[in-house]
Structures are given as C-alpha cells and as structure tokens.
Amino acid sequence: MAGSNYLWLIPFFPLLSATLLMVTAGQLPKKIIGFLGAGSIALSALCVALQAQHFLASGEIMQVTLWTWMSVANFAPGIAFYIDGLSIVMMSVITGVGFLIHLYSLEFMDDDSSYSRYFAYMNLFVAAMLLLVMADNLLLLYLGWEGVGVCSYLLVGFWYRDPANGKAARKAFVVTRVGDAAMALGLFLLFTELGSLDIQTLLLAADSKWQSGDLIPTIATALLLGGAVGKSAQLPLHTWLPDAMAGPTPVSALIHAATMVTAGVYLIARHYSLFLLAPITLEAVAWIGLATLLIAAFTALAQQDIKRILAYSTISQIGYMFLALGVGAFSAGIFHLMTHAFFKALLFLAAGAVIHCLHHEHNIFKMGGLRTRLPIVFWSFLIGSAALAALPFTSGFYSKDPILLSAWAMPNIGSYLWAGGLLGALLTAIYSFRLVFVVFFGEAKTLPNKQPGWKMSLPLALLCLLSIIGGWFVLPLDHVFPAYSHGEINHSVEIISIATPLIGLAIAYGLFLGKQLSISGFTQSTLGKALQSFCFSGWRFDALYQLLWVCPYQVLAQLWRNEPIDYLYRGIVSLMQWSNEQLSKLQSGELRWYATSMVFGLVILVLIMLRSLS
C-alpha cells in the first residue's frame, strides 16, 4: 500500500467521506456519520504512516501525476503530488493530530444537530490541507490553500444562526483573501518569469536565472509572503484569528492552531531557495515574526477569554516559526511547527473540555479550582502549557531553543532578534501559567456538570504524550533544507535562553497564585488601564483596519449604491423628456401659429439661400 501509486488515497478518503456526508445531508444515522467522519481520517492517517515508513526506509522522493489539470500553451499544471520529507512531516501532523481531533469531536459535538455537516466540513478541510502540502505545483497548492480557507470560513461560521459568528467567519476569509490575492499575483509573476508553476522546476529555474538580491525574486517572494502572512495570521493580517475562535473548539484546535495557520510557514519553507535569493524578504520575514510574536504575547496577557488567549498565543508561536524561517533555520521552524501542533492542539482540546464541561463558559475569571474536579484536563493543560512556555525537557523547549539560538547567530541583527524572542518567551511563560493558575487553582467559581468521556480523554492523553516526547523526534528534513548550523554559541546565551521561561513561570506564580507580587497598583492607574485596554483590544488593529479599509469601502459602496453612472443615462432621458415637453408646447393647435411657423421656416430657408450672395 505504499508508493507513489497509492498517494491519491490519502486525500481521497476524507474527500469521499465529505462528499458522502454532504450528499446524504444529515440523513444518515449518527453512528455512521461518526464512523465515516473519524474513520476516513484514520484510514488516511494509516496511509500516511505507511508512506512515511516507506519514505524513511527508501528515502526516495515520490512524484505522481494523476491527470493534467489543464494545458494551455506552456501552462500545464497537473493534479500531481510531490512527496519529500517536508511533506511527510506535514501530512503526518495533519492526519495524526487531525485524527485525534476528529475522535475528540465525536463526543464534543455529540449533542449538536448539525453533526453530519460538521464532519463533512472537517473532512473536506483535511482533504484540502493534504492537497496543500502534497501539491507538486503552485496551482494545486493554491487549490488546497483556498480550500482550507473556505473550510475555515464554514467552520468558524458553523453555528450560523448567530450573526457574530458569520461576521467572524467572513472576516477570517476576507482577510486571508487579501493575502491570497497577493500570493496569486506572485504566482502570475513567477509563471510569467519562469514559465512554470511546478515547484521544483520553478526553484531550479529561479536558481539558474537570478542572482541573490535581484529585484524580481524579491518582489515574487514578497508577494508569496503576503499569502503566508494572511494564512498564518502574521502582522499585519493577523486580526482574523482571535475572532475565528467563534467556531467549535476542535475546529480551533485543528485549523486555527495545528494545521491551517501553519500553511504560511510551509509555503515559505517549501520555497526556501527562492527566499534565499531575496535576502531582503527573508529579513522581513524575521522581523514580521518577531513583531507578531511580541504583539500577540502582550495581547494574550490581557485577555480573559480562554480561547482568545490561546489564539493570541498561536499567533505568537507562529511568529517564532517565521522568526526561524527568517534567520534561515528552516528545519527549526518546521520542527516548532510540529511541536506546536501537538501542544497547541492539546491546549485547545483541553480548553474545549473545560468549556464543554462548564456550560460553555469562556471567561477564565469565572473558572477556577478545576484541578481536582477535572484532573485529566488539568494535567493535559499543565503539560500543554509547559510545552508552550518551553520549559526544559518539554517538546516546546527542544523546538524553541534552536530558534532563539539561530536568531542570535544571525549577523548584525541577531542580538535584537534574540532579545525580542527572549522577551516573547518570558511573556509566553507568564500568560500560559496565568491561564493554568487562574483556571485550575484557587477557588471554584463554576462547577462542571459533566466529565469528559473516553473519546475526549484519549486524544488528550495521546497529545500529552506527544507534547512531551515530540522534542525527541528526528524529522526527515536533511535532504530538504540545506544543512544549517548556528555554530558555536556563547554558553551564557544558552543559559539565559533556558532560564527565561522559568523566570516567567515564577512571575506568573507570584502574580496569580502565590500573590507575592502585585501589579494592581499599576493596573488601577490611568496609564495601566489604558495599556490594559490597549492590549486587550489587540493593539487596536481592528479599529485601525475598520477605519482604513472597512469604513471607506462601506461608504464607497453606499455612495455608489444608486449607480452614479446611471445618472448620466437618466440625465439623457430627462433631457429628451424636457425637449419633448418644450416642443409639445409648440403644438398648440392654433392654426395661425402653425401658419406663422411655416412662414418662419420659409424666411429661414430663403435667408440661407441668400447667404450665397456674400
């Protein structure tokens, strides 16, 4: 069952299941729906596992073309797959984590009336995401890219009867579409310049055609970066992700934490050689990552909604991945992508369990003391948070540490990047443990009405395990990316990097559990309040965009609503009507006037004739 001939099965299973679920439109019994929904992902995951084993054993890159999509002149993208180590990693994460989340969903969504629709969308998403990472050419990648966007839209707005959810869903889609449009332009540019959209051909052609620092690769990579920024919720297109938490929590776990949002990272990693030709863009990637991770971390500190905290933390962690890509540590970025998928999925699922068991309560300050009442969830959350904060020996530590060290090793700007990343790490530790302490310690404010069943607990347990041991995985990326070594790093740097999360933990403990520290004096002051609300609103990005884009667009639409162009035609019509009325007045019915007008005409005619006198 392994080998390129069977690759098509991987996206096929979820696609088939999605189609079946859609066509039957909820008419199937619930058990079969669940079986189809989760089972298809399981089959898919199994296939991935077989393929991965085959790949690891043989190390051969698999390529297969199912059919030529379209062929016009020299433009001939196929429905074709290209599987190398990077794809294998991504596919494993998608199907593996995806399967766990589907399993979890079986219970989480049990009482929802649109059970079938949910699994249809989820399966469709997995299929699209798989196409994205398996695609051999940029057009198929774009298909997956847009496909996951639509599924994200559908799932964010899953509970469609609340208009707020619809709004969040549209925001998610449209904001990412801005990035997608840039990416599409990038595709046009690349095709026009290189004559192909096959990724490997294109990369080779780019290498031979351009020198590092040329203008065109810079523009092309900047445009691709636009797409990546949109999809991965990086500055300046990050505002959609917190709102996207309106969807069911497993959706947030799968799409908005583990897989889709990391597509941007994948895109850049996939085209790393192109980005290497554009050092300016690559540096921009690093800076974007850094800025995003800091802004998001600050914002996360001020949030009260458990899912929003996690959302901002996702943005922040992807910032780390961008930072890694930007400094050229592609493997580190991908590695962090994987571990992040584990622990962030774990955190979301655990948060989902909390919400599920706590009457859909989202506000962390209305929770508390859940340590004893939901022990499984507590341990999951704790492990997840530890990994998020990159405490030593968790997977997060193994992935984040190389990023910081690579940043340090960057010439010229390395120390700034490193310092920024370090600050981010400190903040990460503070907000993640703030979450743990507030939710699971202290006195209980709301009592859970149920306990998670095995379908929820098993994924949590497995993800806990992965979050811990994920750091020891060795990814088959050696042949994908150039060997990277950040050389000898000062030990003090290493130590500071390791110690920072611990300091953060301590601060969080002092602030939220032991109460040794208090910043209430500061938070009560005017400046503090302002700062808090500034952070709470996500640094006012939403308001800014509202002012810059949304409002002008709406005003424009309202202004044009009645067709300014049509006024021109209506004016012509009015002119005609006016002349008609004026001329009709002349038709007075008076015989003498008619005679007069005739004489007038005669006089004019004779006058014209007389003009030839002169």
């Binding site: 009709s584 038709q587 019915g589 008076e590 015989l591 003498r592 005679a595 004489v599």
Partner: protein, 104 residues
C-alpha cells in the same frame, strides 16, 4: 395690340408683395373666411407671376398655368366654403382660434 415692355421684376415685385401680404393675412386673421381670402390672394399672386413670366417668354404656357391655378382655386374654395358652413354650424363661430381641441 402689343403688350407692355417693362421690366419683369416690377411685375414680380407686385406679385411678391401680394404673396407676402397673403401670408400675413393668413398669420393674422382668425376668421376662416379671411384665411380663405388670403389664400386666394396668394394663389392670385402666383398666377400673376406666371402670366408675367409667360409674357416674358412670349409663351401661352404661362396663361395655361394661370388657368389651372384658377381651377385649383375654384376647387379649393368650393370645399373650403363647404367647410366654413360646417364650422359655423358646429362651432357657432368662424374664429379658428377656438378650434384647438387637438394639441400637444
């Protein structure tokens, strides 16, 4: 007996004057009888011009056209006066300014 030997223009000027005045009458008068009279004056002016032109070319054609104009005038006046009778009967007036039921 021989005819006059004066410039043709003089006759034509008289004809023009009569023609213009006929038109003026048409534009001014409201009584349909006067309008018919104006018509007669205009036709007469044309007839005068034809006869004069015929005299210039020493052709009988001018007079023949005059003859035709005469029959035309007779026919028009016959029907016109028939109409006058009807108008008087229907409108109780010959004032054509009252006859403007159709307009616009």
């Amino acid at each position: 007996m021989n005819g006059l030997q004066i410039p043709l223009e003089h006759v034509l000027i008289i004809a023009s004057f009569m023609f213009s005045f006929g038109l003026l009458g048409l534009m001014l008068r409201r009584n349909i009888i006067f309008m018919l009279m104006s018509l007669e004056v205009m036709l007469n002016a044309a007839a005068l011009a034809f006869v004069a032109a015929g005299a210039k070319w020493a052709q009988a054609d001018g007079q023949i056209i005059f003859l035709l104009i005469l029959s035309v005038a007779a026919a028009e006046v016959a029907v016109g006066l028939g109409l006058v009778l009807q108008i008087q009967r229907r409108f109780k007036t010959l004032d054509m300014d009252t006859a403007k039921r159709m307009r616009g």
